[in-house]
Assembly symmetry: D2
Homo-oligomer: 395 residues x 4
């Protein structure tokens, strides 16, 4: 028995606002009846605004992994080469998925401490004179490391290399938290999921697809049915789906779209995440610990992965923090297992929730006997206060 | 604006009980944290009881269509022949899905007015001396027609033909409403979904898989990742899933399992549906209309498809009924479009809801000018009352 | 364990719409903070529209009984005479309450089979040349009998008698179901509650008060604090309450006001209840049973009290109906205990819910061995269908 | 538009747990039907355990103010003297209420900076040789000042004075947060409400009543009906109430009772509040500000009232904090208006919520230009960590 609210500070699923949970808590409706069209259309139109695209969006009843698969099976043929960049655990999982589907991933190794390197991608593409590489796949916000890849730079690199590959971007943990522009940045397939910046429970995933991607899908040889875009043009026009949609999650999605697009506004949402990322990193610095991502401009507004001092177990620290303070933190995955912990600061989140979160980390470090300096919360409060400096000066 | 509750009498999604909606209306939890194991295990163990299997269950974040695909891609190789029986629209869709995946469906034609014919299946299998057919796929309850296929007979037919094909059964609209026995009937892959007898919103799907099916999966050549059973043995032991599960739907599933297994009891649930099917058909007979399914023992406890008198539009009748009485009925699909309507009487349902439903049909027939005799509700009430004859006699 | 929805067909608490329950399912807010003013003002302004008054409304955190007490203690002095009319059980309870408060009720006896008799009231007032009687108290819709009193006639009777008494009306079970006009009918204090036509759970009660009543309150000698109107002028201006309001019920009230005033519209709500009352009585007539209220124009749109055939127990019938069909019906109270049962058809209710309800009554009568003719539901469906006769003729 | 959860840190209404809101989000039931008895009995029995009494509990559909009135009108007669102690605003309001009811309060003045003074009460009672004083009324936790009165000492003082007056205690903001013992401490009427330690929305209030109080009620001359205990013996036996109860709040109450009595356990709840009070006061001290309550052993585990430095407006500070950090704090009432602010740390609350709260205060002080030292949150974290010192030492 624990009192008060659990602090769910993993980097997704994020905290779901009451309004969204309550919106899902309504009777399922007839997904073929006249009233459904508005539900479906609102969801699809809203998601186009979130992806910043005028093209087409597909919504799947699946988790984000399904949208990874959908991006590949709709556009590629058996044996196709795909250039992928090892930003961390999730980039590696996507590569594994490509292999299982019979593709040939070309994997640019990374050190898990930065986003994708556009120059390395450009160099590799320039080598590919025969255009064997059919797609470049990059994770926008690598959830395992807290590093953001510069997608706009990757696009420019592809253009510089005059390479015709499709650009596919995983925004599962960045969409609606970090600025992303499907059309402007020339992305062909954007992959996303519901349980992070969209503030929903898991169970919905998305593809935003360019005209070039649609054209590619007509010639693509991989077999597909559930993920097929073929029957997905309809929904964008009619609001109806080819098979039973996850109706109650769509109720929640429409509530999220109201909040993100029409109430707080996407740019304010991005600014909020950015400020919270800065405050979290100020706390880490005050504790005398290192942020895993070593490229300052790649550091994520969504999560902060923190390196443990040598000889100390991140998982023990997380267990202590959960037991003492009822807070879930993200674990280190595969290559950094037990060596980092991750603080999620995304979704439906605010200054005092962040202060509570950082207090929990600071007390957990102490309770677990991890060497650190006190003062992290204090440092974060100073960063948070800067927003109001003007108001104070004026007062 | 309509007052009172909408009558959602399509044959699924069915009415979701308040308890299940409320169970889903809780904060999403850390699906990698220690508390999740109980949630995952309870769901998987409970579903084994619902499928009546001791083997393995896989839960997908997807709609039922995904579980159709999962059954095929895990067990078969490109070009494999699968014997499928045309019970109606959904059997036809499954066949289309098999084709898209590169399989070779052998389709036994049906007239959409009965369940699968075990003798015809046996005959076809006897012809297949070379065992080209790798799987027999049958829809247990054909949602488009209201006909139940005799799965036990199909198993006996396969055994009689001494054919080694896998038996795959779609129970999307029958599971937890009509008796089904995965192990006893020798089914290899059972496919199901959340939004019918399980009384949940759409968004979860299931495979129950025999040891024989697992063995087949090891040699199966179709490419797969999201649907792959490979990583799904873990969950059955640990309660954790290989990728983010649809956590809040799992909360709802566990509530449904309590209701079905531990409160009402599966056999009582089956008896309830059977009795409601009988009452609904008594109403149809009193109206002087025909039930689409012409084999009495195949008539479904889950839904009743009713044939319209010649020259009358089922869709017009349904539109009138929705407008006047705020009730959604199922439409006729493809071959029987506009010629039948379907009354769902499944899931979280009781006698007075059925009487309200049949009243709506009877008033809708009248309002839409469809020739019929009054007295359907009266006839249904007589059937419903039989259950209490003993109590009256004793009183 | 029962499947499907319980039929709550007592004459209140009525069925609470999902929207209202969900509106209440939000965190309690600071009732002194700036955001609360809108909540409070919306509730008070909306209730003025429901009462059809331009004067003042008071909202209490209490059940309806509290609003009865409030009406009396704010306007009267110890020993004051109040003329009350015995329409049934609730009128009798109100009289008992007046006695406990030290008032002197003059009770005009009634036979519980009609509303108040305006002529009898006029005659009694004419006898009161010394104006000892300070208030006339009438129950608008007597919930124990299903009889509506003609309030407008009572007002005219008081005017004809040139009597200065205050007119107090209990609309606990009529407000927002049966037309009521506080200002136009010259009512001084209207008493109401949340759990009937307002479609809320119990816990809020109301006084609508005329200027004359406010003036009377200044001289009234009964002691009061919780119920005192003195501090209740504030809320009508500011939206804040003198003590902690039942915040979450106010959330629900505001949702109800949207539905009643801005979506369905009060006049449509009244018409809906009237039509359902007619259909219910057609069923009773078809069963060959008697409606308790014998004055046709007094019969209630909110509930129908039905007399049992001699020698049959209403309570046994209700118990059988609850056990067999999971429907709650109202019991006979005091003078008519076990001799009548009451069917509620109010609040968030529609045609198919009524048909389900009447089916449950008809089957319950049969199961309990109560002599009756079949065909009640059929008769009700004919009444319900009349609304659409024009549409059919036009088609 | 604000992101994340509002911090409702007024000293009640407190944060309502999701489980309680969800428990209230169910259809209202028939409060006269057989299933209700369990609901009513569970609530009444559970509340006896919370009050620590074997005697009788009464539950009202009203806010706490109603329970104040009920305590007086059931036991006293017009003109009776009652000894009341001015602990702060709420004690003063209770005195005003007594005056409105025609009682004669004898008010021992206080300075609003401590709980009641048992010695002063004893002295005053000794003067009352004629036993004109019929009741002693004390507020256990004065919500306006954050001072806890020593009820056990008051009882001893009354015994020492050999005075037969009834002892009445307001526990509206202490019950289920601070240890309270109705029977052991010889309290005759305990008054309480739902929206503080019981973690419910406002709308329920309580009286716990001794045999002596019941005896007094038989002779009490004040008029009463809604508040009358006469008909309230029934509910304690049958679970049914004399008039319509606030059913959905009772659903919530039963959930709260499960959490308090059977899950966390009352003694753990008390310890949690005590520890949070200590941590909050450590923060205030670190800021260099003063706690309003100057008697250390009277300082409240439920709330901390903080004095503003001379010349600074508490209301301006609160407005800034609400605007910048979406947190509601309690205001200073009447005598201390604008001079104190109150931090609520009660109900469904935990360490990280407290740290978030104190961070909000510290940042609000800074933003509002209130002179203070930084480090309050840090100081609180140190106090919170003491609980785990043993674990660290052992590790």
């Amino acid at each position: 028995m624990t009192a008060g609210r659990h602090f769910l500070q993993i980097p997704g699923p994020s905290n779901v606002p009451d309004r969204i949970l309550r919106a899902m808590d309504y009777p399922t409706m007839d997904h073929r009846g006249p009233a459904f069209a508005d539900v479906g259309r609102k969801a699809l139109e809203g998601m186009k605004a979130v992806f910043k695209t005028e093209s087409r969006v597909v919504i799947y009843p699946s988790s984000g992994t399904g949208a990874w698969e959908a991006a590949l099976v709709n556009t590629l043929s058996p044996g196709d080469s795909v250039l992928m960049f090892e930003t961390g655990h999730f980039a590696t999982l996507w590569k594994g998925l490509a292999e299982k589907l019979g593709l040939n991933p070309v994997f640019i190794e990374g050190d898990w401490r930065s986003g994708a390197d556009a120059d390395a991608i450009e160099a590799r593409l320039r080598e590919d004179a025969g255009h064997e590489i059919k797609a470049v796949c990059v994770v926008h916000n690598e959830t395992s490391t807290g590093a953001v890849s510069p997608i706009h730079d990757v696009r420019r690199a592809m253009d510089a290399a005059k390479h015709p590959a499709l650009l596919m971007v995983d925004t599962i943990s960045s969409l609606a938290s970090v600025d992303f522009r499907h059309d402007e940045w020339g992305v062909d397939v954007t992959v996303s999921g519901s349980q992070k910046g969209l503030m929903l429970p898991p169970g919905l995933s998305f593809n935003a697809i360019s005209e070039k991607a649609i054209k590619a899908s007509e010639a693509a040889g991989l077999k597909r049915s559930y993920w097929s875009w073929d029957e997905m043009e309809g929904p964008n026009k009619t609001g109806y789906f080819p098979y039973t949609p996850a109706t109650n999650l769509l109720y929640g999605l429409n509530e999220a779209l109201d909040m993100l697009l029409h109430e707080e506004g996407l740019e304010n949402v991005f600014a909020r995440h950015k400020r919270h990322g800065e405050a979290a990193r100020a706390a880490v610095e005050a504790w005398g610990l290192d942020v895993l991502c070593k490229v300052p401009e790649h550091r994520s507004p969504v999560l902060t992965a923190v390196m443990m001092p040598e000889g100390h177990s991140a998982d023990n620290f997380r267990a202590v923090t959960l037991r003492h303070y009822d807070m879930s933190l993200g674990n280190g995955l595969s290559k950094v297992a037990d060596r980092v912990f991750r603080i999620g600061h995304l979704g439906d989140f605010n200054d005092l929730m962040l202060c509570g979160t950082l207090s929990g980390v600071e007390m957990g470090l102490r309770d677990a006997g991890v060497p650190h300096k006190a003062g992290g919360v204090q440092a974060a409060m100073e960063v948070l206060g800067r927003k109001f400096d003007g108001a104070r000066a004026a007062a």
